[in-house]
Subunit: 406 residues, 2 copies
């Protein structure tokens, strides 16, 4: 922990001295750099939401007071949906974490990789290009599109690795098969680093089992770089060593305990653009094997959705994705809808369930559903009702909030 | 000349030793590296046309025997219409010439530039990005598209320079004006490096006069990098110091004299991918102030079209663009068509002219047209006829070849 604390003290002082927005946020909270000695002290600094960062950039363009170096020392300026400007020098959070994930994905000097992440406007394509060429790999800067041409290059150049979204990888494979090619037999691709969208477990399974690929699935953002990864198809994603990733209560900004759900909040060590406690808006379960003792790289997160989509039930965030995941664990369910009400000033969570087979054992299903929901959502269902198919339309919202707060 | 000859000897030996295709082409012509001591000796090596390069790559993918380094030392592989693969290491013809043109265009460390050349598949975007970041400029890697977003970035980041096609630059300016913005007054763009398509003189004039831009217009190809440039709006484009640019008779491969038209043939000093006497297929007038004594950077070329479109009249190539240029020099012409015939085994060039004003002085026009054609096309018109409007349809071919060769 001492190395990370040392880096933290350095970046906080640097950001405070050079990024006016960071100084302002800390000052408004009555926090000085001296107050931040360890990662635990970070909680004294309020979380800055991504929406707030957008507002600050709009009020003080282009970087909202977060740029901590002279603007003419920048190598690149990127722009990601948000809308958010991202400044970049030759090193920084994006490159540091790209180095980590490219090593984890197992790319090396012998690899010829097709890089289908965009090089235009957003930072990902150029960042992984820089790291891959530095380690001696050969890169085809491809972007997305031109499937036929990309397949031709993959064959002609005996491409061994793919970087991009999982859906474009699958689109390439399908295109190859439509053209009568045997992807596993005729192509040399064995490693894939996928990111920028969720990787559905069945798609991952297909890529691994049918096409013989080793898949590294990465979670990250354009502002912060890569944050977490999975190589085995597990739900929890391992955190990288840096940047500092916290899972916090979206109301208080304080870290949630192991097994609890909260917002992913990140602090980078990027001297160009130090983002201190940036709230990603992503909700995750905090998986911590030895709370208080684990190194960050020993911790994991299970992504469950976006903060705005979640409903708070008796103080716990419940996200539609968590509920959907819980329901998927119990066979025999056609569909279901959760309804949150508040009789007598107490939140109640009811589940309306449409069965695939009416004759199923209600008692057994009730027990199974109750347990799955408690495990996935960290909240107990107060009532589970089995209803007729038309009581829950096919396009019904997964969670219905029927509380009124007047 | 001695430095260029020394570099030439080195690259020829290197290519002969390491690029099997170069060895084969030289051997088939009975030429050994020792035979090539000066640029004048280069003419002993046959010209390889771009089409032939495509064939060689298809027969021996991916690089057709022109790669002169181990394939795993490549940083990037690009792919340009042709279709042609282009291998690249950290230095080479593309980067060398990008350094030259970026210096000529006057970009420096203080510039913030929007780079709208593509980074995907083709080499241009990444090459100029590398050079610009090396000199300390700040680059927005943008690609083409998203005009509104690009304009927002140009304003927010006070962009001083543009790189891309002239038509996209004009599209951006028009979009800005449609949005009620004053491009010259509100934007900071002052320098533009344009390439990849012809720059029509009226468009150049508008960019310079109305929008206050300094324009550097560059001629180059994806395989060879930049070859020539113009900063003043002149028809001749100055040759860069490297690579070696020759203007040659497309039939014999021998250099044409000053003022004559021939194919642009290029020899790079690229140790990764040495292209020796690659025929670009572009036709140009060889402008040489002191034949035999000029340094290459004192010479110029006037691009007049593509080899395949030209018609050979009494041994001289006449390209539609040359004729169109000649006609544009003479006021009072509505349109015209050249017809090539071959009575008594001698090529004859006749011109059918439709006048804008029937009452014009035929004798004076005949003299003016004759002189303009001789100057632009290096061939004398045998006959100039003034015809009625319907004798030359509006969509008529500029040159009609009515010879038969049985």
């Amino acid at each position: 922990m001492s190395e990370v604390n040392e880096r933290l003290r350095h970046i906080i002082q640097h950001a405070y001295d050079n990024a006016p927005a960071v100084k302002e946020i800390m000052s408004a909270a009555g926090v000085s750099p001296d107050d931040i000695q360890t990662v635990a002290d970070l909680d004294k600094i309020p979380v800055t939401s991504k929406d707030r960062l957008v507002e600050l950039q709009a009020a003080s363009p282009p970087f909202g007071g977060f740029l901590a170096v002279p603007i003419n020392t920048l190598q690149h300026v990127f722009f990601s949906p948000g809308p958010l400007y991202e400044p970049s020098a030759d090193q920084g959070a994006m490159i540091d974490t790209a180095q980590d994930i490219i090593e984890i994905a197992g790319f090396d000097a012998a690899d010829v990789v097709i890089n289908t992440f965009s090089y235009h406007l957003v930072p990902t394509g150029l960042a992984v290009d820089q790291v891959l060429t530095q380690i001696g790999a050969t890169v085809i800067p491809a972007g997305v599109g031109n499937a036929d041409l990309q397949l031709k290059m993959m064959l002609d150049l005996a491409v061994t690795g793919y970087l991009g979204t999982p859906s474009w990888l699958m689109a390439l494979i399908e295109k190859a098969e439509e053209s009568g090619l045997d992807f596993r037999g005729q192509f040399s691709v064995r490693k894939a680093l996928v990111s920028a969208e969720p990787l559905p477990p069945p798609l991952r399974q297909t890529l691994v089992d049918k096409y013989g690929l080793s898949i590294t699935n990465v979670y990250g953002t354009a502002e912060l770089g890569s944050l977490a990864y999975d190589t085995k198809g597990d739900l929890p994603m391992h955190l990288l060593k840096t940047p500092i990733v916290q899972v916090t209560n979206p109301d208080t900004g304080q870290p949630v305990g192991p097994g609890d759900t909260g917002e992913v909040v990140v602090t980078t060590f990027d001297e160009t653009y130090p983002l201190i406690r940036l709230g990603t808006g992503d909700l995750a379960v905090n998986v911590d094997p030895a709370p208080g003792k684990s190194l960050q790289e020993e911790r994991s997160i299970i992504l469950v959705g976006r903060v705005g989509d979640a409903v708070k039930v008796r103080g716990m965030f419940v996200h539609p994705n968590q509920l959907t995941f819980a329901l998927s664990q119990v066979p025999g369910i056609a569909r279901a809808q959760a309804v949150v009400t508040r009789p007598a000033n107490r939140d109640e969570l009811s589940l309306r369930v449409v069965l695939a087979d009416e004759a199923a054992d209600h008692e057994q299903l009730t027990a199974a559903l109750g347990e799955a929901i408690r495990a996935a959502c960290r909240v107990r269902a107060d009532r589970i009702e089995f209803v007729a198919a038309d009581a829950v339309p096919e396009d019904a919202k997964v969670i219905l909030d029927e509380r009124s707060w007047e």
